[in-house]
Symmetry: C2
Subunit: 397 residues, 2 copies
Amino acid sequence: MSSGVLSREFEGYIGQSSMIRAMFETGIKLKKEHGEDKVCDFSLGNPDLPPPREVKQAMLELAEEADKPFAFGYMPNAGFPWLLEMMADEYSREQGTKISAGDILLTGGAAGAINCLFRAVLERGDEVIGMRPYFVDYINYAANFGGVFKPVDTSADFSLNLAAIEAAITAQTRVVLINSPHNPTGQIYSKEELEGLVAILRKKSAEHGRPIFLASDEPYRFLTFDGAVVPAVLPMYEYAIVLGSFAKNMSLPGERLGYLIASPNMPDKASFMGGVVMASRILGFLNAPVVGQKILKHALGKGVDLEIYARRRQMLGQILSDAGYEFTMPRGAFYFFPKAPGGDDLAFNQILAKQLILGVPGTGFGMPGYFRLAFCVDEKVIARSADGFKRAIDSVK
Amino acid sequence: MSSGVLSREFEGYIGQSSMIRAMFETGIKLKKEHGEDKVCDFSLGNPDLPPPREVKQAMLELAEEADKPFAFGYMPNAGFPWLLEMMADEYSREQGTKISAGDILLTGGAAGAINCLFRAVLERGDEVIGMRPYFVDYINYAANFGGVFKPVDTSADFSLNLAAIEAAITAQTRVVLINSPHNPTGQIYSKEELEGLVAILRKKSAEHGRPIFLASDEPYRFLTFDGAVVPAVLPMYEYAIVLGSFAKNMSLPGERLGYLIASPNMPDKASFMGGVVMASRILGFLNAPVVGQKILKHALGKGVDLEIYARRRQMLGQILSDAGYEFTMPRGAFYFFPKAPGGDDLAFNQILAKQLILGVPGTGFGMPGYFRLAFCVDEKVIARSADGFKRAIDSVK
């Protein structure tokens, strides 16, 4: 019987908490039983590289001013004006189009940015289309404001299936949400795919008489391999929105620092930006954390050592390949998404856990039959995992 | 005509942005025209005292570890376990009842905490009862999740009007939200008032077959005058929730650090806490900012110099009294809420602005006929305001 302490919706949620977090808990248990150094934990995208050295410099400067009035004070809701100017320069270069300070909102992480967007644009019952496999909290971000997340299948190589997207769009479709480089598959959408998508969105927006936004969640933009390029969406489409973060490129995930950038060509952009800034205020973010913002004064445009991630990718790719796993080399981000040997990803994840290897079943991304491995872990851990990966796949042959 | 870039609800919001912020903008303009040192700005609750010295110590330690892996990494969604333990000790003392680490959620500010609570407990159409005058974003926090904020009049001295609250409660009432010490009136609710309120909530919860929460928003608990005491609600009522912040007592508003504490006696408390922690995750807060949390390692329980606020209260009280304003001395928090001479608070605020004095009209708190003055400003500013306050009131006599 209900104790009545939660809404009916939330009563349904409790118990079915995020699979990634569940693996996190299993990991803690295994580490306690077998020792930290025996477990190979590929379950969590918690970047393990040290932040760029400019972060230390920024913290020293902050310590210097920490006993001054307003050192940690409020600032305009969108962020420090000097920082928005710096970001306008930085992202004008990145996106190859002129972005102004007023096109940017600093938020509490990219997750916060998505929530601000959804709060400002969704009507109750509106649909958000995303690509399968997907980050499971996309469902919840939409549900927060009465929206419905509608996953669409991708092609065999996880590239966009434009025909499937077009077929999925209805009069209720308000946002198409993409993530590139993609968690968990490492796929990057090409310029041609994105131009095809934009053509569909333009057509469908006109057909249904309301703009359909293209929201591009890009926390892994900085991390691509073998010269892969992430195309810029803002110059392509007047209703494009970029959602980004400093969690992964600077190893600052706990400080909750992200941003939203609107296409400089958006009609009535002032209303849109006013709306998302207000959403940030009334959702309680108010402003992105002040320390994170002051860190960016020194560290904007800096990043962790990408060579380290590239080496790990090679190393884990070799191990998986030698053991006989079926997978595509990720083109970006720090995840592998191999097929689960035997086909049952939940069962295979248990088999891996017996080898003290932690991954996340594809079911946690709406895609059974696969599993995710995050390679933001030390090379020693990757090296140590080789035998376990071999034994695990052999046991289901 | 609608450009279609916002939801219909948000289209309605744009243009009618927060009055406090509007005054903030007027202030910037006046300062530009007349010089920073000529304007007496009492419009914003942005604490101007330096943070306690332990904050500097914490920042130095953080600078030391800033180049280490995971220095700014994720932690469990509710917060660092060691910090929750520290807070459990601290708030057990404050609330006079045994609080456990598991009863606490660290959030992005008290505003974030209220949003997490509302997300987890409100059904669409549920009512949140609050006291007039009220912080205007309470309306929006409820509306975020389909809730309706329902203000109830208070007594002439801004104490609780229990009969009015009881009459306002319906089957849709889910939360009664109080704020004590109160912004903008400085009132503190007594133990007797709160016990009377709890008796009503118990009766009405039973009558309607669903718990009605008592949510106590307490960012100013640390700041009381003339020995006034803020009663602890958690031991009084099993459905009491405390929402707090480190913005005001430590002058850290920009870092967005707050918390939610559930009554240790709540039935099915584990579900409730699971719900609010999940709400924090899916609203995009994920966790309270890591730097803020690490600051608390050194600074929890420390605060700014309260004597300074006490002196300013005396000083501004004397000035208002000498000039002939009608007001009650605030018992807590850092605001005066005098009656607007002439009765029209919007007009009188303009008259004050002509004297280069900035306040906020009571209309911005749902209470025309009054105006708010925040005294988190330097004594020199208060001294300089004396003539202007006199001229302003004389001009409407």
